[in-house]
Symmetry: C2
Subunit: 287 residues, 2 copies
């Protein structure tokens, strides 16, 4: 079976070299995983019966995240839709401009530009070079720094706030997620507010829009929302629960090392390198 | 309209800064574009009526590409299918193992490992650093080098040969294309044989497979092929024609510079950097 990587799963004790990334994950102690707070999780249900779960990052974009939580809690987003899918770039959701109702009370229409931050001591550099800046993680989030400022980076599955030209920063009524090669040129230009933790395929595998910039002429019914809910507002028994690998753990360091130095019977040459967007923290349903 | 980049298209002469990447493309002289030879183009038609066009790279993987051309010309691939779609990784096609007929005469079953090459003087380095190696272009293809060897790199839309564990190199009967963050760990481990030049969305936006590694349990009918044709075997009037930007041209250098240093009314901060997979050569239908 020409499976392009099936060897990862077929290693036997007899020819076992350094552990594979998956073996590092499988052997991770419970202490290497951190629960994701239910109040930061947003569940989107689509008309086609599928769903996606987003994790918000209040520590990095407090005003935008507060806006988004208000939009969710007031039900304002309940019948929004996927409105744009541009191949190798982004999937964007919200209301088509003509459908957008006035924002509910409490939403800050032009929040401060939460594009970057003072450097945090929690920044843990990746021990590999990066094409763009010094890259690493802050409390499980992919980040970069130039020594003076620090910011989240546009990796696959990261969620940002769509906006028009500066000084507009976007209210959070339209969000997007990255569905292709990391568009790092957007770093420090757009507010990143979270990441997709489940159902990424229900955002990335949608039909591409045919209008300019991948907007849909009309949002397909399948990608209309039926509800958007803060997971902490669901009955306890219905809450999806997720964990993210602690990026300060020894397990995470081992996993990154294994990703950067692939071995086993499939790999002929190891890269000895990795970029930040191939080193985003593993996420799993809570066992 | 919170369009995330609409400003590119809305610049007026009044506030015109450095040209945007799109403006560089729009102003490119005809001499900056190179015709892609019809004999290197493969047209795949799917049962859902959509299609994709691939460009093969015989200069980099002559034995694998000869195999693929034989598989196309003999009609062996005519009823193949998309068999695997793994989110943020690859879409793979060929026959499910149980369906694969014996390879036609002339196909080399275990070709030489065309993973890398002696350095070519045609290598034009990108004037920006790369997370993995020294990166650049060879005759319009994204490539990297360590000074001793040179190889094509796994950018979005690049096409590789699926294989099992080494020393298997894959015959070319199953191919894949990258549909997510560049999996550069595969560089020098798998033979890259080309790129998708049109209809990428008909490969990237397919339903993800639910089996291990994103294989389909059974290939969906929509992703079955109805024909696979070498474009040079089509009647002249029916041949799709494409051009790729000459990566040795001044226009291409300007375009890369504009991509690395975004400006205009949308961008607040310029990255001053770019990675090779955000700098792959623009491709267009021949005007």
């Amino acid at each position: 079976m020409a499976a392009l990587g099936v060897a990862f799963l077929a290693l036997t004790a007899a020819d076992k070299p350094a552990p594979s990334p998956q073996e590092v994950i499988d052997a991770a102690p419970a202490s290497a995983w951190k629960d994701i707070p239910a109040e930061d999780l947003v569940l989107i249900r689509f008309k086609d019966g599928s769903s996606s779960v987003l994790q918000l990052a209040p520590a990095f974009a407090p005003v935008h995240v507060a806006n988004i939580k208000t939009l969710v809690k007031t039900g304002w987003l309940n019948s929004a839709a996927l409105i744009r899918v541009q191949d190798n770039y982004v999937t964007q959701w919200g209301y088509p401009d003509a459908e957008e109702a006035p924002l509910p009370a409490g939403v800050v229409k032009v929040p401060p530009a939460e594009y970057d931050h003072a450097p945090s001591k929690a920044f843990k550099p990746l021990p590999y070079k990066d094409s763009f800046s010094r890259a690493g993680h802050v409390a499980t989030w992919p980040a970069a720094t130039d020594g003076k400022r620090q910011w989240l980076v546009h990796c696959y599955g990261m969620i940002g706030v769509a906006r028009d030209v500066a000084p507009d920063t976007g209210s959070g009524s339209q969000l997007y997620t990255v569905i292709g090669q990391a568009p790092r040129a957007l770093d420090r230009n757009v507010t990143l507010v979270g990441r997709v933790v489940a159902g990424m395929e229900n955002l990335s595998a949608r039909p591409r829009g045919t209008e300019e910039l991948g907007f849909y002429k009309a949002p397909p019914e399948a990608g209309r929302f039926t509800s958007v809910t803060l997971v902490s507002d669901l009955p306890a028994s219905e809450r999806p629960k997720f964990q993210v690998m602690d990026t300060d753990s020894a397990t995470f360091a081992d996993w990154v090392k294994a990703r950067a130095n692939r071995s086993g019977t499939f790999f002929v040459k190891s890269a000895g390198a990795i970029d930040i967007c191939n080193a985003t923290a593993p996420i799993r349903p809570k066992p």
